[in-house]
């Protein structure tokens, strides 16, 4: 099978309708802050951001597929590469790399060295448990679920917590085949 779809998102990124970068970054910041005010518990905010990300991911996948011309996402390894190289470039304008594959190819890390979401951000001491970019893990989870891959995603490194990069661990739980939705005797 020849490789399908593009290997980099640069060309697509250039064509995608873009929203003003500062507006995007500041809006995300304002949302996080509003959630902190409303929910009080940092854990709850993490959960909510993940859920919002998931809701976005399940929509974003179709735009990604339509614009990137990726026609199949069956192999997890290939899909992870495409998400990192093309997906992140297309929607965030940054390139991510995929590393730390485990032996059976079901777990890897997506590493971001640059992340526009955190421009200007300094976490106050009261928010130390906050995964500020948790929306990203939700987006990836939602998008992968739409291409039949149930995953578990967690943060390994976070620059707002003093690490040198952002690292998301993506663990494939199972691939769900398409079921025939109607009962035969109906």
């Amino acid at each position: 099978m020849p490789p399908v779809g593009p290997r980099s998102g640069d060309a697509i990124f250039a064509n995608v309708e873009r929203v003003n970068a500062e507006l995007f970054t500041l809006t995300y910041g304002a949302i996080v802050r509003q959630l902190l005010t409303d929910l009080e518990e940092v854990e709850e905010v993490n959960k909510q951001l993940d859920q919002m990300g998931y809701n976005i991911g399940i929509r974003l996948i179709d735009e990604f597929l339509a614009k990137s011309n990726v026609s199949r996402c069956v192999d997890f390894k290939e899909t992870a590469e495409v998400i990192a190289k093309v997906g992140f470039k297309m929607f965030l304008g940054v390139t991510a790399s995929v590393t730390n594959w485990d032996a059976d190819g079901t777990c890897c890390s997506i590493v971001l060295e640059d992340n526009p979401l955190v421009d200007f951000v300094e976490l106050p001491d009261t928010c130390q448990g906050l995964y500020y970019c948790n929306i990203l893990s939700g987006v990836v989870r939602g998008a992968l679920e739409m291409v039949s891959m149930k995953t578990e995603i967690s943060w390994i490194r976070d620059m707002l917590r003093g690490d040198d990069a952002f690292e998301l661990q993506v663990k494939l739980l199972k691939q769900i085949p398409e079921e025939y939705p109607y009962k035969d005797d109906e």
Binding site: P3, G5, D62, N69, S71, R72, Y180
Partner: protein, 169 residues
């Protein structure tokens, strides 16, 4: 057999030579088999009620895909007939033609299926379906009032789609 190969996507309209009313009807299903959209332009005969009609169409695709994959002479890796596949797994068909109509089909890796039934003498419509998929992204997925997984009720999508289908030759 593989539907849509590695060609560049065309955000612009695929060229059409002549226009007319070649489109009969169109279905959009999601990965759960929910019929998100049924649109009809030219269908003189209705034999089934709408629900049965959708079910029949979905069943046809489901079985045909399973059969085409099973028949594939180029690959070893096959599951048993009727066993569910991942969207995009195995080979698939992109169209078939009868003496009275032509059916063109595409499926995205996210399981969105677009089926366009047209006049039997229409040309290769694979690019057109990709274009319709792009319309779906722009006017349905990006419509904040639309809830994923529910039937599509977006005026902008319908009008743009109708206009485009009229141009198909």
């Amino acid at each position: 057999m593989q539907f849509f190969g590695g060609t560049e996507i065309s955000p612009s309209l695929p060229a059409s030579t002549a226009s007319g009313n070649n489109g009969h009807m169109m279905y959009v299903f999601n990965r759960n088999g929910v019929c998100l959209l049924y649109r009809e332009w030219n269908r003189p005969l209705h034999t089934l009620n709408q629900q049965q009609d959708h079910k029949l169409m979905f069943g046809l695709l489901f079985s045909l895909k399973s059969l085409t994959a099973k028949m594939d002479p180029t690959t070893q890796d096959k599951s048993n007939l009727g066993v569910p596949q991942l969207p995009g797994q195995g080979c698939s068909f992109h169209s078939f033609r009868t003496n009275t109509y032509k059916l063109t089909f595409m499926e995205s890796p996210s399981g969105i299926k677009i089926i366009l039934v047209t006049h039997p003498r229409t040309s290769d419509l694979r690019e057109s379906l990709k274009y319709i998929y792009n319309l779906y992204v722009e006017y349905v997925v990006k419509n904040p009032l639309y809830t994923p997984g529910t039937p599509i009720r977006c005026e902008l999508f319908n009008t743009t789609l109708d206009q485009y289908v009229r141009s198909i030759s």
